[in-house]
Amino acid sequence: MPEPFLSIDNLAVAFPSRGGKKRDLTRVVDGVSLTLAKGETVGVVGESGSGKSMTALSALRLVPEPGRVVQGTIRLGDTDLLALPEKAMRSVRGGRIAMIFQDPMTSLNPVFTVGEQIAEAVRVHRGIQSRADAFDEAVAALKQVHITLPERRARQYPFELSGGMRQRVMIAMALSCRPEILLADEPTTALDVTVQAQILALMGELRRETGMGVLLITHDLGVVAETCDRVVVLYAGQVMETTDARTLFAKPAHPYTQGLLASLPESAPEGATRLPFIAGHPPANAQAVTGCPFRTRCPKVVPGLCEKPLPTITLAPGHVVRCHLYGEGSPSPPERSRAGAPDRRESPVQPGGTA
């Protein structure tokens, strides 16, 4: 495996509990570890509220108040990011590590044109002094994300652009500083599929040319399949499964991962108007659930076993799952291809068949 460049180890992020005593904390990220090598794309998937954004924000030390990192380390090369003085951290942000935030509307400033905002980022992080040069860089960045008439668009305000254009402005801003690491939080959700394909191709090019590492947070498993080398599956603030992208789709091991794949609209039969979904809700407070946080919804739950602390099982090199079904206490230690899904690479693909 390539050498990790960004490594997050045993991270926990907590917020004060609602209605609780002042010192009660709820962990929304709880013991997350993941690594990202140069030139690698790692996908982060998981339910809404599972802690994907908080994990990424932690690496920039931008967890919103009153939340904070309460445990763990985050290293970028040899630098301990959590120990860095705030001033040094400021140059890491948007410089060595850039982030595409989840909601472009709230992260763009409504009173400046989009060109001014990108130019400002370029001046700060690339040391380009001249305003005119920085503006030219901004226009070039907009062109790179396939915005037509970039000179004109650069002079417009965020409200004058469509949702997808604003998202591309955010991407242009992040990429204009040539970061070593890109944290992309749902970068293409507001984009149609053709622009999405162009942006993903662009991110792929940059990654090959500059060795940029990408942490890609997304709900779109199609995007994961198309771009990611490895994938981390989060549930209720914890990593449930880590594996390479092929294995994720071919042999998902964790019951949550399996449910996620089964909820794809592609999985629904032709003509179905009702789509499959994972029944139930994630626990409001995962720490109140002992053992596996998914056990309240898991169809394979083993009472008496799944309340115990989760084991971490390595199924194959690079394929790690946290589930009792694969542990020692499992009543019928499943063969991998049974407990996991059937090996789907074996199934015949019919040309033209979308049934």
Partner: protein, 353 residues
């Protein structure tokens, strides 16, 4: 007669120097009672503007909108206010569209108050409780604030609010884009249930073609301010007759890492909506363009050997090469069936029941 008929709708934004952005430039479509019409197309092509124009949340430059016998663009302010009860909108962004200072109860009750429905507080509270329950949320949540809810729950609150006045038609502007797959499926199921119960019609704007296939009865494809193709959902995927529709379908990422694409299927950028190309608007990026495409603007016409209601605006709609659908991973379907059948992992009962 259709519930909604839009004819040659144009919405232009002046941007100074005598120039205009032709955001919506001659859109015609119909929506039947109880029907879902999907609206898809490239980012910036005018989908949201079309939706807002139909509801008169933006002034139309020209064109006609007929809703249940009423000439919408000609109505007086007072008449429009009355009609608005029957036409609602759910906005693109569940994070920005709910006022953070109001409780969920106040948000859902607002349209009732504006339209003076329900005599007194108690009656309105009861109605709000019913509305919340109809979207699968406990009535108790009325006392809480938007930030306490996840994206999917907020989107349901937006839908409850849109339902408050018992509308006949709702514009859903990317109602599920921000949600995770499982919650997305639940919201789509909820919309289908409400449609079955109340006969509501939807204009469903979205990007997720694999989802819209299930959510819509018919789909309209938009490019640069115009509709370029309309067909029943199944037909659009099996027999697309416009080159742009084909590019869209080819661009859908397939959840199968063994079949990666190297190149984006549609290269280049859309022309500017300020200076449109002559003839067909898609010709600058079209692989099938011929000399006639630069000269003549192709009208939206029924296709030969297509399903009823299948129309396309391409000079070569009837002579395009055979289409083979980029097969959704057949294995995904196999897995889903197996997992669902064996494990009962997923279920299809309505949320909240």
């Amino acid at each position: 007669m259709p519930l909604l008929t839009v004819e040659d709708l144009k919405i232009h934004f002046p941007i100074g120097h005598g120039q205009v952005v032709r955001a919506v430039d001659g859109v015609s479509l119909t929506v039947e009672k109880g029907e879902t019409l999907g609206l898809v197309g490239e980012s910036g092509c005018g989908k949201s503007t079309t939706g807002r124009g139909i509801l008169r949340l933006l002034p139309a430059t020209s064109g006609r909108v007929h809703f249940d016998g009423a000439d919408v663009l000609a109505l007086s302010g007072e008449e429009m206010r009355r009609l608005r009860r029957r036409m609602q909108m759910v906005f693109q962004d569940p994070f920005a569209s709910l006022s953070p200072r109001l409780t969920i109860g106040q948000i859902v009750a607002e349209p009732l108050e504006i339209h003076g429905i329900g005599s007194g507080k108690a009656e309105r509270e009861k109605r709000v409780g019913e509305l919340l329950e109809s979207v699968g949320l406990p009535a108790l949540v009325a006392r809480r604030y938007p930030h306490e809810f996840s994206g999917g729950q907020r989107q349901r609150i937006g839908i409850a609010r849109a339902l408050a006045l018992d509308p006949a038609f709702i514009v859903l502007d990317e109602p599920v884009s921000a949600l995770d797959i499982s919650v997305r499926a639940q919201v789509v199921n909820l919309l289908a249930d409400l449609q079955a119960e109340r006969g509501i019609a939807y204009l469903f704007v979205g990007h997720d073609l694999s989802l819209i296939r299930h959510a819509a009865h018919r789909i309209a494809v938009m490019y640069l301010g115009r509709i370029v193709e309309i067909a029943p959902s199944h037909e659009l995927y099996e027999n697309p007759r416009h080159p742009y529709t084909r590019s869209l379908l080819e661009a859908v990422p397939v959840p199968d890492p063994t079949r990666r694409r190297e190149r984006a299927p549609l290269e280049g950028d859309p022309p500017s909506p300020v200076n449109l190309p002559s003839g067909c608007r898609f010709r600058t990026r079209c692989a099938f363009a011929q000399e006639i495409c630069a000269r003549k603007d192709p009208p939206l016409l029924p296709v030969e050997n297509g399903a009823p209601g299948h129309v396309s605006a391409c000079h070569f709609a009837n002579t395009l090469p055979m289409w083979t659908a980029p097969h959704a991973a057949a294995s995904v379907t196999a897995l889903a069936e197996e997992v669902m059948a064996e494990e009962g992992l997923t279920e299809s009962t309505p949320p909240g029941k």
